[in-house]
Symmetry: D2
Subunit: 339 residues, 4 copies
């Protein structure tokens, strides 16, 4: 089967991560070129080390390269929608890092372009590919536990981002809980029908000036009747806490955290185990490789990527509904926000 | 220090449990008498085996016995408020099984009588005395983790009660979640300010005819700013699932389930551990003893029982707010329901 | 079915424990009398509280009481063999706390008396009745894991006994490892054929003056071909560590420790869980009740007690072989020490 | 700091693993060339993909390449000692996969050559670099737990190798337990003074024809007074079971297995978790990268590699002592076998 020629747009941290994985760990992928708007010698050295022959400043070089079948869009969020449209116009299949965009109108424009061009689009909701969360999903999807009743998701970052980030993040639901909204759809195998959100500023009072909260609780009603509960905290301090659970008709499947190691030290003072892994990239290392493999396989086999534009859009809708629910202190139906 | 003479009202399952514990495991307690409305030879044999010299049909014998300093009210729920009032009028200290009553007016009447008589009242919210949940509470209350941010409670029964019970239970919030509402106040060290509730009939469609649900999710806002999430299921099938957690400013304290045993069996087919304990009385065996000891000590030392009338009343208020929230599909403030 | 009239010999800590359990938790048992050589008012009060009508100084009163069908021998070790013989001569069934005796000749004398009288004898190897260790045994005995290959036992006390105790204990193998030798026979479902023992004084150099060690490692060859490894420490400091495991042809069954509670506290400093339970009587509380029930049932149903004189004797033989192995630094076959 | 030019000898499974890691994950390493005796197009394609410019049939090309500072010897075991000597003679630092050789005379010859040439030698005892086992070691080495008392190691392969392999493996102690002998020295921070070994054929009777066993138990006396217990099984069936533990004066540090994932599925039938990881290369993936980094850093910083020729030799001595102990059914001192 033919290899997939790939162009990586954006050679920042995530772009280099995807590039490295594509070069080393994804069969059938051949990274033809990369593009980085702030191209410098460090980027060139990275490309050379990986055997990536061409690296440009301008992504236009990527769109017009006939050897490139698909692109990985890893540039800043505000460029995602436009690059999706340009890539689609050039007939390239697309893997786009999340989020597609924060503006629904822009997202729909991009999705329409993808539809029109008949190219594939996969969105980088990487947690779906994690061994733990995928296990929870598969157990539910297989039906062995019966229909889902209650979905529980806890998601806490070890430390909060800088205030300058919070100032422009779009709020906790659009920036942080959005991953859990996608996870909730994934685990429940259903769409969300209604959202009720509570929030509080408990960690850092500076969040108030941005009209944001650092701690949130969200309840969901799914279309299949199940209920969901999500809690987020911007700063857990003990690690990156990501636990998922689905309680079903015949039992319950839970995923605990991956810990730094499996040691236990027992003394008169107490029994100490390791903390959950701290770094997102480290915690989801295997999942990043997995999602890239799944995308490349979808291109090679002309299959539908398992997480696409609709998933990206729905997560944004749920985030919008949650923000409205928090603001107006009432449940908000998805039908209110869908356009 | 003087022993506390005790009269046990009601010699059903819970009454015998309390009686046994008081006779065998509670220092300073002397069970003087018991009263059981359906008095028969089985009750008499039980009393004799325990060295309880007097057992009556009529609780009036208990009220007038000068050797009795305190009573354990373990009779049917509809008698609790009246017995509290009679005991108070007789100057007896009172341990009353939950709930005090389902009617707020009646509860307040009873509490007023207790106040007037100046006797002590402890309510049987036994889970507070469990080694796991108490550990969570104590970690929060000690302040070592900083202020509470998020309280999570999962509470699932192994199997649902008979439909005949559901018909008169008062609904999931008054019958089942009420324990979790008390636990939420206990763990957060705060009052609840607002409630948002979702419910669904997912296990047994017969619940609909009683206007009840078998699966519920509840979000709480606490007066101290913390948020809470509770989920209940009437039938987990894998055991009695009771997990609590409080995420605080400096970390998180969680309590897992007590399992049937600590075995692990590994084969090519998989790795199998034991299920959570199945039976409520078995799971909370030590807690029942502990709450009785705490009550008797409070009487002996003229201390305030740690869980009393106010706690019983507040839990009912929260249950009422939750029921209204579910019915009207909106958040409900406690100020709406408090009388 | 008739109740079993019971006489408890020795009202020290263990005697009172057995007496309490028999009075409260063992159906079909009726404690008729107790005997305590240092009889005082505290013992009398204990007897009265439990409804035990007769308490004597002299066990002879027990032997001659026609209402007593069985006795629980809980007196000091040096009296066990003689009391077994007296009880057997009086036609009483016997539950005897471990060890039967430290002298093989004496043990065999007692066992012969039991055989001759045709009474039942159960030895108090209580750990066999523990929910964890019994689970390991049952998994092996059921055959679902195939034949046993490797038995692993770790047994560490939280703190060592006083030196005055060590002076007369008979050495680590006869005093401490003997429980693990019985456990090894129980879990492997086989006799031990050979023993290799290592020992060291690592905790308290004072052990040397008594020719004893405080740390030991023992390897076993079982008659069924399986191998065994036991390690003991007189002072773990973090609790009472009792882990068992059997690796079999088709998989492995392990028992972890029962912890003080199921809490987990996570902070930036680390993740802390509870320690194993500290106190032997607390840790094996349920097992003590279970072994008494099993004995009483054996008497009522004329069944063979599951752990009897032979088990007591074999454990002593293995301890003797281990002591010889340590002393002579060589493997020792059980055939060398059996008489 | 200068990069280390590296030559990889042997491009089989392990050679390619080391090569991949050196090219992708080890800073300061530059794989100049590789040599593979059965050189074919697959090897050439692998080299090209990794940006390894030169690949030869004959390792002599590696010895004479001035750009190569160090070699990774990943060829068949029987070539290790000779290649070490050739590399040393050529002044190359050496990373050699275990074992150095099975013949002590040959090993000492190679170590003498390394000493004479003044080059560095690191032996591939990869488990020392595993996050779990390293944690156990570091906790002991730090002294926070006091001196080590008991070292416990369980090591079971998921399935046994083909009989053709067993025929020439050198026996369980030289082929399998040798890793645990190195781990025992590593964890105890001490040399082994004496060995007692038991073995049995329990899994596959065909092992008898080769004079080998498939199940083994070994006790160790360390020079620092600690005791050790190792158990091995050629076929656990439930995964690759690698547990280590050191009980010390002030407490105990244990390492459990890394599992396939952190899921738990609870139903009426039971509670199921995942098995330990199955594949050696997968389980120790990070450790392989770590050991390569440590070696390259040692070369760059002119430091002593943490596991070298002496460690390789000592492990062989202990294996020889264990084999003699099993054969002659007696304890064997290391002083008997050291040459």
């Amino acid at each position: 089967m033919k290899e997939v020629g790939i162009g990586v747009i954006g050679a920042g941290r995530i772009g280099k991560l995807h590039g490295d994985n594509l070069c080393r760990s994804v069969a059938g992928a051949r990274v033809e070129a990369a593009a980085e708007i702030n191209l410098n010698d460090e980027h060139r050295a990275w490309a050379e080390k990986n055997g990536i022959k061409k690296i440009y400043k301008d992504p236009a070089e990527i769109w017009k390269d006939p050897k490139i079948d698909a692109v990985f869009i890893c540039s800043s969020t505000d460029t995602h929608a436009d690059f999706i449209m340009e890539a689609a116009a050039a007939g390239k299949h697309i893997f786009c890092e999340k989020p597609i965009h924060t503006d629904v109108k822009k997202i729909k424009e991009a999705l329409a372009a993808v539809e029109k061009a008949g190219v594939k689009l996969q969105v980088g909701f990487v947690r779906r590919f994690d061994h733990n969360h995928k296990k929870v999903h598969d157990a539910v999807a297989s039906g062995i536990l019966g229909s889902p009743h209650v979905v529980r998701i806890t998601s806490r970052d070890p430390e909060g981002p800088p205030l300058s980030y919070i100032a422009v993040s779009g709020g906790i639901f659009m920036d942080m809980t959005i991953h859990d909204f996608d996870m909730a759809r994934y685990l429940s195998c259903s769409e969300v029908a209604e959202v009720s959100a509570y929030g509080a500023v408990l960690i850092d009072q500076d969040y108030r000036q941005y009209g944001d909260v650092d701690t949130a609780a969200v309840m969901l009603k799914f279309e299949n009747g199940a209920l969901g509960l999500i809690d987020n905290s911007r700063a857990a301090h003990y690690g990156y806490d990501q636990r998922t659970e689905v309680h079903c008709a015949k039992g319950c499947v839970q995923a605990a955290n991956d810990l730094v190691d499996a040691s236990v030290i027992s003394t008169a003072e107490g029994v100490v185990c390791e903390k959950p892994m701290w770094f997102f990239l480290e915690r989801y290392n295997a999942a990043f490789i997995s999602e890239a493999r799944v995308f490349v396989d979808a291109v090679r086999n002309d299959a539908v990527p398992p997480v696409g534009g609709k998933d990206g859009l729905e997560a944004v809708y749920i985030a919008m509904a949650a923000a409205r629910s928090l603001k107006e202190n009432r449940p908000v139906k998805l039908s209110e926000v869908r356009q």
